[in-house]
Amino acid sequence: MSVHPEVIRLLIFLVGIIAFAALNAAYLVWLERKEAGHIQRRIGPKEVGWFGLLQPLADGIKLMTKQLIVPAGVDPVLFRIAPILVMIPAIMSFVTIPFSDTLVARNLDIGLLAVFAFASVNVLGLLLGAWGSRNKYAVISAARVVSQNVAYEIPMLVTVVTMVMISHTMNLTKIVGQQMGGFWHWNFFNLTASPLMPVAFLIFFVCMLAETNRAPFDMAEAESELIAGAFTEYPGMGFGVFFMGEYANIVIGCSMATILFLGGWDCPFGLYPGVHWFLLKMYLLIFTVIWIRWTYPRTTFYGLLNLSWKILIPISFFNLLLTSAMLKVFKP
């Protein structure tokens, strides 16, 4: 019986994506601890393996050996599927992200829409988990996360709509295809489409930080100032899966920023484009995400919402209008 080559290709991609997501989730923790260490003028983990490279393995084994306590009064279905609901959209978004012009699992024509649609399900998983925990503090904390996510989705999607207007397509591979040939073609420097393009990148980046609940917007996790965070009732590996989901979301967010603004797999000088450039740019953005976390204090909850509703949304709408005006004038 012969197997269709497309099935084999999909299976390889499936395994590859899950492996990529899992390895990233594990080793981004290592990167975070090392980078935080060096910013604070100390070495991060160093005992377990060279440069602490086996530390994530040790942490993973520790998490797996913990007893999975399911508290007595929880809703049996919601409590158990919440971590999965957070993890699945992140992994599914990897399906349509092009790592290079040939390395993409499924090049959907509405790839951009698919990624952002999956990102919204992430919030639902968090809320269901908190609701299913039957812990009033977790519900309060999760309600805050929901309003934070809703508030920051708006500027992010407005900026994405601006990019779609410029690129005339939602196919991610074609969007990168229009930016090939050196860094002056990248959307970040595409000032004829909109002079506020770097500002748009900044808005997208900030919204991505808020969507993934990263500092300085991490009220949900660091809420353990008083009220316990949204994940209190989750033991060991349940918490571990939420965390894997968070790091996978960071990878997706940085990949989208690379594809939309920084030219995907394009070399800055147009020489040897390929997947290595994509990965380099993505990891530089992840480095910046971690760098931001360890530099700033946390915003308060209303400061966070004020930032979105009063600052980011007006600026992104202004950018949208400006882009449409520029497109009308300069590219009839």
Partner: protein, 147 residues
């Protein structure tokens, strides 16, 4: 309106300045000492637990069993016992017990000793399984140090 835009610009600039500072420290060398692979030496006046000073002439201790340290200690950690030895004017030390679990390293004992028989050690590696490990017999420790 001007104030609003001004705040946005100055605020964003302050954020970039902060990032610049942390990345500058990222590339500088670490300031931590990798203990236990690297060990620091203690300063001469470091206050570890007290120990008996070796008398170079006799090879033993200099204590005259006057009991000043025992009276001076606020926490009652020191117990000194001695015996009269024939042919010597002063008493000789038989047992010097320091209960280090109560000591607050105030230095009143070292300051008050008329014979300069005790001093601070430089010992900081103190971790043990039971409380009794830290009831020191200082005379025995002196003999162990002398070999």
């Amino acid at each position: 309106m001007i104030g609003y835009l001004n705040e946005i610009f100055s605020g964003t600039w302050s954020l970039f300045v902060g990032l610049g500072i942390t990345i500058k420290y990222f590339f500088k060398p670490v300031v931590t000492v990798q203990y236990p692979r690297e060990v620091l030496t203690m300063t001469p006046r470091f206050r570890g637990h007290i120990e008996l000073v070796r008398d170079p002439e006799t090879g033993g201790d200099k204590c005259i069993v006057c009991g000043m340290c025992q009276k001076a200690c606020p926490s009652g950690c020191i117990t000194v016992t001695g015996d009269k030895v024939e042919g010597a004017k002063k008493k000789a030390l038989t047992r010097y017990t320091l209960d280090f679990t109560k000591c607050s390293l105030c230095g009143l004992c070292v300051e008050g000793c008329p014979a300069d028989a005790i001093t601070f050690s430089k010992d900081y590696n103190l971790a043990g399984p039971t409380k009794e490990t830290y009831v020191f017999d200082l005379k025995k420790r002196l003999e162990e140090r002398n070999g």
